[in-house]
Amino acid sequence: MEKEEYLDLYHQMVLIRRIEEAAALLYQEGKIGGFLHLYIGQEAVSTGLISARLPQDRVITAYRDHGVAINCGVSADMVMAELLGKVTGTSHGKGGSMHMADVHKNFWGGHAIVGAHLPIAAGLALGDQYKGRNGVTICMFGDGATNIGYFHEALNLSKVWNLPVLWVCENNQYGMGTAVDRASAVSEIRQKAEGYCIPNERVDGMDIIKVRQAAERLLADIRSGKGPYFLEVETYRFSGHSMGDPERYRKQDEVKRWEENDPIGIYDHYLTSNKIAEEAELDQIDQKVAAEVQASIQFAETSPEPEPADLYKHVYFDK
């Protein structure tokens, strides 16, 4: 990687963190409605992963999708506008926090039924395979999603049809309040891929460099026609499952322990100790991000609401 790219990844991670913090405040002010799931703590996962993709690679994820949108190149403005339900948002205010997408950036959403997007990911990959394109579909989902039938059907089909998919399980240790070992028969989630003869591995998701390296290698393998691959990424969400989570299922010192492994702190240290960047340069990025987030809030707040007539728009494509 060139220095510029190292700094860009830092920028993306910090931007996600600050957008999420701002979103939490806007939620408390009542400006964001519905459910809001923050990505704080998991920034290294999608930033590392998506930075390794080629433009033809598709990305699809679950409802914890703001960060993924940013990594796919969606602007902070559009993310914020969607959170506020504005017509300038990614989904013109019809999707909300859980349903962001930008197909022109090969970001295929934001899906809020746990595990339901895995079969869709298989289909996206089928589309590329059918047309002889060399894109890979990167499908991200939580540990909890590996317990629903869709996961098993989709993994099986991906192997039977040798589809170009990178299955990425973001194991953040909990599905809502249920710890992995209370819901999953296997403790290492990657083991589930064994049942479908899908090669698999586990990586430390708090370290962006490790995620990035694994992703580069696996995407190249899949692109060369080797079929699907399963990557389990160990990570942790520092905030509750969604806003208003009483967090009765985990102890504060467990959260503290993980927070010491803050992915941004780890990356900051990596950049400075390897003399890739000076602390002052990173501070500058931090300031730039603060301004960007402020501007995105400004953009979202001053953006128009959808028109009442938009209610009936896009129910069908054909007139």
Binding site: P119, G123, Y130, A154
Partner: protein
């Protein structure tokens, strides 16, 4: 014109569309090597190959989910669910995904997707394999639901469905596959979302579709012998529902009977009746009658099964009620 079965009509529509557009492909259980559980895709695998005639595992959610994904990339999948009873295993992908994605993402995703499936009772398959839950699927904005009653319509509507850019749930009736009808030669389409006057009459309006078109036509023939002229409207598409021919007919006859194979409660008949009351109340001369399946899970025993399904006599009886 040729006199062919509904099975052949559907098969020809698929074949011609696959010849016409290389992005059209079929996926589902037993569609390939087996030739289709109802023999609709017989010969397809040998002709088009395994890339375009794709046998899937028994994974209903993933059949529909993967078809959605493929459609999002611009392909035109025709996903087959072996019977409508198994569609419940794919309900999430039909309802929460197929019917929502275009709208929910502000129009940026399009789904040129056809889900073909087979419904209907009357073959002694017992309660799990005999349902006609068409109204369930017609409940969801974002999905289009088509259910042809003639071979000509089946071919023309299926071609329109394959060329459409919306997700379409295409319901065939298992006991209509053998029924023959006149079908125009070559390429033609029939628009989705258009009801049609199937038989003209002046005394009573019978609103129906799919298998019950056959039942209603038999009833109309018997009624004609006694001097009662029934007009039959074939809905053909349940969503979007085209009420114009229904209302035009009702304004003429002032009496209506709605005939469906599914259960009466919360069904197609309930919808049509209330739409008539809402939009043509001044023309009502008699309470609208509904003919539908008895409210039981369909039994295996032949006599009981026929007792539960709507019969020609039930339609005649209902017509007499409104006259």
């Amino acid at each position: 014109m040729a006199r062919i079965t509904m099975r052949e009509a559907i098969s020809r529509a698929l074949w011609e569309e696959m010849e016409r557009d290389p992005d059209v492909f079929i996926m589902g259980e037993e569609v390939g090597v087996w030739g289709g559980s109802y023999a609709v895709t017989k010969g397809f695998y040998d002709h088009f190959g395994e890339k375009r005639v794709r046998d899937t595992p028994i994974s209903e959610s993933t059949i529909i989910g993967a078809a959605i994904g493929a459609a999002l990339t611009g392909l035109r999948p025709v996903a087959e669910l072996m019977t409508i009873n198994f569609a419940f295993s794919a309900m999430d992908h039909i309802v929460n995904q197929a019917a929502k994605l275009h709208y929910m993402f502000g129009g940026q995703m399009t789904l040129p997707l056809v889900i073909r499936t087979v419904g209907g009772g009357g073959r002694q398959l017992g309660a799990t394999h005999s349902q006609t839950p068409d109204a369930v699927f017609a409940h969801f904005p974002g999905l289009k639901v088509v259910a042809p009653g003639t071979a000509e319509d089946a071919k023309g509507l299926l071609k329109s469905a394959i060329r459409s850019n919306d997700p379409i749930f295409f319901i065939e009736h298992a006991t209509l596959y053998q029924v023959r009808g006149e079908v125009p030669d070559g390429d033609y389409t029939i628009p989705i979302g258009k009801s049609k006057v199937h038989r003209e009459g002046k005394d009573v309006t019978i609103v129906t579709y799919s298998k019950m078109l056959e039942t209603s036509t038999k009833a109309a023939e018997q009624l004609a012998a006694t001097g009662i002229e029934a007009e039959i409207i074939d809905l053909r598409t349940l969503r979007p529902l085209d009420m114009e021919p229904v209302l035009a007919s009702f304004r003429k006859t002032n009496r209506a009977v709605i005939v469906e194979e599914g259960w009466r409660s919360f069904g197609v008949g309930s919808e049509i009746a209330s739409r008539i009351y809402e939009e043509a109340f001044d023309y009502v001369d008699a309470p609208i009658q509904r003919v539908a399946q008895k409210e039981v899970p369909l039994p295996y025993n032949r006599t009981l099964e026929q007792l539960a399904l709507p019969q020609v006599e039930d339609v005649i009886q209902a017509v007499k009620e409104v006259l």
